[in-house]
């Protein structure tokens, strides 16, 4: 089945999310939709899937124009979607999830679970998925959950499958397996739309590449194009993809963490006896699939977690058990993983956000009042220094793009007298141009002799920044390895396998 989108335009108020986008997907073809976060990829797919109605343009299947009022229509027409955030009911079994909305029933409306199980087994065997139809979805690993999503789409006879940022939650091995599955699906005649912003994946699997930027198609590229060419298309200018950094000049052991353990309110151990050291002027990158204790680690260092045991000493001073205020005063800078929740107050101005953690005294506050002129000067200086693209310092931080919001957070945290920098997911949801800038700032901080802990789930980022890499799995340290450790070794470690020889 050939899918054609013609001149799709979708507006949200004054914002044009999709501006006359056209693309076609042939049967058996993997068509990559490449673009940065906020370029309009997801909007386009939601239009295709009937979740949004396009303001202009049309969707055609084999030349016949379609009108989708909801996902039900799109599914009936043969379009399947593997969502970025899985659309699975966690407490249902695989079979129940697969049959939902498409149930076959027997006597008195009773569910025919047997038929659903058989369907899951059949598809699962056809593609070698190894999925148990009676497993409860929330107990399955993320990679398997994604296969359930694929089975769900295939069980509805999808002829066009849309994968929306499918690799964000996967380990590198799972990513490779997914690529193989996509190839296999394409060979069976399914047309595939693969939405991503990761260049490596695009080049590995795509037959054709369409690049969109700011809601418009800016060009097509062939899979043989280089990373730099693709990135330039995506961002609209030449970008430096590799971080320029010199070998580290190592100082003393600055941060010494021993047996750090975090038990959450439900009594589950989220971080289990983690020990490591970071020397002054060194970046330790913490790798791992999301949800393996990284959040707990960074928040424990900041004093944001309850139920922390063990010790974390910064320059000989114990951090565990101190208040957040005291830890910040000890010179710890923190870039939280979710800037909109923990990093910024969206309705505050940029200037106010820049002094959020310095509201306790000089220089910004004296005798209980904020020194506005000093704050203004400071904010304008930082705006220029950190290249924040904003109308002015009194713009609400929430109205900025992701990249610029993150630059505000980074500017605030780096403009203190730092003794330690903890950065969690410093470039998540940030455009390529800003990534480049933030990375260079982190490296500059390290070069000034500050120990840095960077948490990232993106191996590219880990590889770009790390002087040493620590891999976490289920709250435990799998190993601490040198920065030049091959990707596939890191991938296995992220799945919990210890490396053959460990290097501390």
């Amino acid at each position: 089945m050939q899918l054609a989108l013609r001149d799709i335009t979708k507006r949200f108020g004054s914002l044009v999310a999709n501006d006359h986008i056209s693309l076609t997907v042939e049967p058996g073809e993997i068509h990559c939709l490449l673009g940065e976060n906020g370029a309009g990829k997801s909007t386009l797919m939601n239009v295709l899937y009937g979740l949004y109605t396009a303001d202009e343009g049309s969707i055609e299947l084999d030349g016949v124009e379609q009108h989708f009022d909801g996902p039900g229509d799109a599914i009936a027409a043969g379009i399947g979607m593997v969502h970025q955030h899985f659309m699975l009911v966690p407490v249902f079994t695989v079979a129940e999830n697969v049959m939902l909305g498409n149930e076959s029933t027997g006597f008195a409306g009773s569910l025919d679970l047997g038929a659903a199980r058989a369907r899951v087994r059949e598809i699962s065997e056809r593609f070698g998925f190894h999925v148990d139809p009676d497993a409860v979805v929330e107990e399955l690993p993320v990679g398997v959950q994604q296969r359930v999503e694929i089975i769900k789409a295939l069980s509805r006879d999808a002829r066009v499958l849309v994968f929306d940022e499918p690799t964000a939650v996967l380990t590198p091995q799972e990513t490779d397996e997914l690529m193989a599955i996509m190839r296999q699906l394409a060979e069976s005649g399914v047309g595939i739309v693969f939405i991503t912003h990761k260049l490596r994946e695009v080049r590995a699997v795509a037959d054709r590449i369409t690049v969109i930027r700011l809601g418009k198609v800016v060009g097509e590229a062939s899979p043989t194009a280089s990373n730099n060419e693709l990135a330039a298309l995506m961002v609209g200018r030449e970008v430096e993809l590799t971080v320029q950094k010199q070998p580290p000049t190592l100082g003393d052991e600055a941060l010494v963490v021993e047996g750090l353990t975090v038990v959450d309110a439900a009594g589950i151990t989220q971080l289990d006896g983690v020990s490591f050291t970071v020397r002054a002027g060194e970046i330790l990158a913490v790798a791992g699939v999301q949800g393996n204790g990284q959040t707990e680690l960074t928040e424990a260092l900041l004093g944001l977690q309850d139920g922390v045991r063990g010790s974390a000493r910064l320059d000989g001073q114990e951090l565990v058990g101190r208040s957040v205020r005291k830890i910040l005063d000890a010179g710890v800078g923190f870039v939280p993983e979710d800037r909109q929740v923990d990093g910024l107050v969206g309705t505050f101005t940029i200037a106010e956000n820049l002094m959020l953690d310095r509201s306790f005294g000089k220089p910004f506050v004296s005798t209980g009042t904020v020194n506005q002129s000093l704050l203004r000067r400071f904010a304008e200086e930082k705006l220029a220094e950190y290249d924040v693209r904003a109308p002015g310092i009194s713009t609400p931080a929430g109205s900025l793009s992701g990249g610029n919001q993150q630059k505000v957070v980074v500017a605030r945290e780096l403009s203190k007298d730092l003794r330690l920098l903890v950065a969690a997911q410093p470039t998540r949801g940030v455009d390529v141009g800003s990534i480049e800038f933030i990375h260079s700032q982190i490296v500059a901080t390290r070069d000034s002799g500050v120990p840095v802990v960077v948490v990232s789930t993106e191996l590219d980022e880990v590889a770009a920044l790390a002087d040493r890499i620590m891999v976490l799995y289920r709250g435990k340290v799998v190993g601490i390895v040198p920065a030049d450790t091959p990707r596939d070794v890191l991938g296995l470690m992220m799945a919990g396998e210890r490396p053959a020889e460990e290097v501390a």
Binding site: P71, M87, V89, P90, L100, G101, S110, I268
Partner: protein, 430 residues
């Protein structure tokens, strides 16, 4: 008393040990210990002489079971000792990091109740059939209300307005029943009234994203106001014509009603109770075994997932809420078509809130919620029976019983429960 004290000392010691981080709840052993001490203290301080008779049959029974006669004081003491043993076992399990199994709690409850009744009714007769059968009858509105609550929460709407639905049902049953001179017409009227209340809740909660708890509470107050106003301004003007509905008589189910003990309790009831059996069975089957139930649960757990497979989230919520309202309204009819054949202002006495507690105590499951509602019905009826028997416990104290049980049940024994993930959250597209 002497056997109970060490248990409490132990549990008290554990309670202060907040460092123990385990998922086994500490409250079960504590609760068991506290109840043991309370009963032990009551038995020792308020000594009771004489024998207690448990009457197991009614005069109409085909098979006449003999009466059970026990010495009051001795039986109560034995019960306290047994309870102390169970509490100690529960503590031992807690220390070993294990949960107290449900059967042990059940044994404890039966022993405790038997001991308490022996003591409280010393020198008198406990009509077991009347006690349990009456409990069932008193639980009827609670069970219907709880079913309405379970359906609502399972589809993602918190149904705080159960009390309003019960009250509106009671009112409509009285009015329609009187006008039509038919109990069945009254029943239909009650369902329609409950449905109407649910419709208002649904419109605000589903279409306008208003906070469901607030709408629900406001609705409850509104229904109290409307029915009280109608009662004093309209119904009392013409009680004969508007507020004297016919009552359901009891139907004996042939054969089943002749089973000793169980027959008279379960099968010598009014048709509304038989409707209840059917409702519980149908709702349970439909919720877990049908397409309708699967979709309903999906909408309550992950509405977006349901939407993306083509299930209409809002329509599903509307339909389910209306059904839930009709079921709860049916429960309201019990007040005016069975209990008393007249509507009175605020006659539900907050039963809807107890039904809501039964929903939570029953972990959003129709069967468990029914059992929870039956427990509350038992607590209410016990209070009535004991005050007739002239027990040593002050009657004001006994009036608190259903509510005390509610608090203990919800706070103490529920353990970790998991509501439907999207319960209380309005669904907005995009």
């Amino acid at each position: 008393m002497s056997t109970a004290t060490p248990t409490v000392a132990e549990t008290g010691g554990l309670a202060s040990d907040s460092g123990a981080s385990s998922s086994v709840p500490r409250k079960t052993p504590i609760l068991l210990g506290v109840i043991t001490v309370l009963l032990g203290a009551a038995v020792l301080l308020g000594s009771q002489d004489g024998d207690t008779t448990f009457r197991l049959a009614t005069r109409a029974d085909f098979v006449q079971l003999p009466n059970l006669v026990v010495p009051a004081e001795a039986t109560a003491l034995v019960a306290v000792v047994l309870m102390a043993l169970v509490a100690a076992e529960s503590t031992r399990r807690y220390v070993a990091g294990r949960r107290t199994p449900l059967w042990l709690i059940s044994v404890y409850s039966v022993v405790a109740m038997f001991g308490f009744l022996s003591w409280a009714a010393a020198g008198g007769t406990v009509p077991v059939v009347g006690l349990l059968g009456g409990s069932l009858a008193l639980a009827v509105p609670l069970v219907f209300g709880a079913l309405g609550g379970v359906l609502g929460e399972r589809v993602g709407v918190v149904n705080i307005a159960i009390d309003g639905q019960l009250l509106a049902g009671a009112f409509a049953a009285a009015l329609v029943g009187s006008l039509a001179g038919s109990t069945w017409a009254g029943l239909l009227g009650a369902m329609a009234a409950g449905l109407l209340v649910a419709l208002v809740l649904a419109v605000f909660a589903i279409s306008y994203y208003v906070d469901q708890v607030i709408v629900g509470v406001v609705l409850n107050v509104l229904i109290i106001g409307i029915t009280s106003f109608m009662f004093s301004q309209v119904l009392s003007e013409n009680t004969e014509k508007l507020n004297s509905p016919p009552r359901f008589s009891t139907w004996d189910i042939p054969l089943l009603s002749d089973i000793p003990l169980i027959g008279p309790i379960l099968f010598r009831q009014t048709p509304i109770v038989y409707l209840l059996y059917i409702a519980v069975a149908v709702v349970t089957y439909a919720l877990y075994r049908t397409r309708w139930g699967l979709r309903l649960r999906a909408v309550g757990e992950h509405p977006k997932a349901a939407d993306t497979v083509g299930i209409k989230v809002k329509a599903t919520r509307y339909r389910t809420m209306l059904l839930a309202g009709a079921i709860a309204g049916l429960g309201g009819a019990f007040y005016t078509l069975v209990s008393v054949s007249q509507f009175n202002r605020e006659m539900t006495g907050g039963a809807g809130y107890i039904a809501l507690a039964a929903v939570i105590f029953g972990k959003w499951d129709p069967i468990r919620a029914t059992l929870a509602a039956l427990l509350f019905g038992f607590a209410s009826n016990l209070q009535g029976v004991l005050s007739v028997l002239g027990s040593p416990v002050p009657s004001e104290f006994m009036l608190m019983l259903p509510y005390v049980v509610t608090i203990f049940a919800v706070a103490g024994l529920v353990g970790r429960s998991r509501p439907p993930a999207a319960s209380g959250q309005p669904y907005k597209k995009g």
